[in-house]
Assembly symmetry: C2
């Protein structure tokens, strides 16, 4: 079989060009006689690869030197603990906004280490929108305000960045990072599990304002202390070297595509096409209020859920893979991250149209 269109929410498709490059370099990276995964993380060669990746990410996102960029292990779920452990800074409480499954996980873990104030939630309406920031019950003495700008499971996204004033804004951007330009200076910290728009799983990128470092609680495992990791260039121990290298290949690929402005144009077009098709149909539906629809994760249902498995089988036969929705939501979900070419979205819409015609 040749390469298929993989709509998985994560681990997700990577650009074919990146995988081809990785394949080419697998046994011998540029005449070194070894694979990147066989290199000492302290070697000049590997440190060069790692630093280039960091610089490319800084270039792409416009990250200033006021921020440390960390390449850590343990995924976003480890950050759910690390955030209160590092960022309470003598405060007792932190504000969280609840917009779906991943917000809830962040909140549940933070409650183990901090007094969590859920300042707003759209749970009552089934998470079909983001609560209006004017209604948020934030606390002025909160250590930070945590948001989840893109809910991977619900397919919900913030329409704009909230203004948290002097309280550092902390964001789980796992499924939206690098999908369009972002004003990083608005954040105290951004974190993202790699396995959607960055690279393979097992890597999590943390972008944290340096003035927030150095206040970790005594209960913090050293590996989770941002200051320790920042001071050691994310090499307090052996980092996930191969995943970091692959992330670097993705960053180079993004630069070749024209950077995040170019990705924004493509991603907007992909999302507009797919939502546009869903909205004109009586057979397919997406529940999210249009202003809050994710560009990256597009859940949709069929008018008759008894057709779900037939739909999925037909999709698979056409090389449209992993469209099954999350078990907590049901229906379908098309994740259309950076690596999903527009032709994949076109092929999906073609299939959806023909399925509706035949079975709708």
């Amino acid at each position: 079989m040749s390469r298929q269109y993989n709509f998985c929410a994560g681990p997700a498709a990577l650009p074919t060009a990146v995988l081809e490059r990785a394949r080419e370099e697998m046994l011998d990276w540029r005449g070194t006689g070894m694979s990147v995964m066989e290199m000492s993380h302290r070697s000049e060669t590997y440190v060069g690869i790692a630093q280039q990746a960091e610089q490319d990410l800084r270039d792409l996102m416009g990250i200033s030197d006021d921020y440390a960029v960390l390449f850590l292990q343990g995924g976003a779920s480890s950050q759910f603990s690390a955030i209160p452990l590092n960022l309470l800074r003598g405060h007792e409480s932190a504000d969280y906004i609840n917009t779906g499954n991943w917000s809830k996980k962040a909140i549940a873990e933070a409650r183990r280490f901090a007094d969590v104030n859920v300042a707003a939630s759209s749970e009552a309406n089934g998470f079909i929108d983001v609560p209006d920031p004017d209604t948020w019950q934030t606390r002025s003495d909160a250590a930070y305000l945590h948001v989840t700008p893109n809910e991977t499971i619900g397919g919900l996204a913030y329409d704009r960045l909230p203004d948290s004033g002097d309280v550092p804004l902390v964001a789980d951007m796992s499924s939206t990072i690098l999908s369009r330009p972002l004003d990083v200076s608005r954040f105290g910290m951004i974190y993202a599990g790699a396995q959607k728009n960055i690279g393979p799983s097992g890597l999590v990128v943390v972008i944290v304002r340096r003035d927030l470092l150095g206040h970790a609680s005594p209960a913090t495992p050293t590996m989770m202390d941002y200051k320790v990791q920042a001071d050691s260039g994310s090499m307090y121990n052996t980092p996930a070297t191969y995943s970091w290298y692959l992330a670097g290949l993705v960053f180079q690929w993004l630069k070749e595509q024209g950077g995040l402005e170019a990705m924004e144009t493509i991603n907007r077009r992909k999302a507009d096409k797919l939502y546009g098709f869903i909205d004109q149909s009586d057979f397919y539906a997406n529940p999210i209020v249009p202003a809050f629809r994710s560009w990256m994760n597009v859940p949709f249902t069929l008018a008759d859920d008894r057709l779900d498995s037939e739909f999925l089988q037909g999709a698979e036969a056409r090389g449209l893979l992993n469209l099954k929705g999350h078990r907590s939501v049901g229906g379908m979900r098309a994740s259309i991250y950076n690596a999903m070419p527009e032709s994949g979205v076109d092929a999906l819409i073609d299939y959806m149209a023909s399925f509706e015609k035949e079975r709708g």
Copy 2:
């Protein structure tokens, strides 16, 4: 350049056959149309890959169902925190044996969470041997006894397993796991960073007796709770899927080599050859008491350390890479893990002999 002999202590060389297989499967794993790193960790295909890897490790090491086998993130250094957080089980103190740099790191981190009793140390003699177990000042009420059976930096190894009685024995086997057969039933827990004898960095394997699970301290980040990870098949969040797959390829390769009995024969021969050559020379020296010499990490010094850089340059020109000793020890270190073929050791000895002849 073609493949070289890479003596790096970790991340270390992988079997060429494993890298060739990974290269072949990079863009399309067995007709699925996607790379393993693009697969959902919850998909039937990936779960099959992951479970096969676990089963192969169980087969190789003879691990019974009394033990959970976890594939986690964060390296051995994260386990330095996770061990006291999980295994104190209401006890206040734990015993540690100090035999070198990695023991010391484990001890320093454990002190942050437990009353650590260093029951024995060979620091006074420069870590050239393992203290005689008869002299260990262990405590009967210790939660566990922690040992480091192979010190990667010093090149020191236990000559036999200590008897810890009813106290669970916990071992950092990062640089010795899979190098020869082991009686797992003697241990409460074994852990190993992958980047030496298992696979790429970013993965750590934990083998823990199930009766020790379920007692994590309330301060334990959920990602570090062994019970949570065991109950979820190491998929509480997205694991390091690609590293896990590569570990599985290494396990299959080990089976093809004849398993750990066969590796023991080869590894013993490799180590005997290299130490034998060093011992018959007046130019090269290894400081470790012979009974405690590591089969995996062989540090050695030249009679005149002003020749060190010339030695390293000449080695590199012959394709013998990464022989420089750890900065804390100086001199040279040849790490000869499973993936280092006997021909690499032969080539190293040839070079050492000719260098001694010319410059000794």
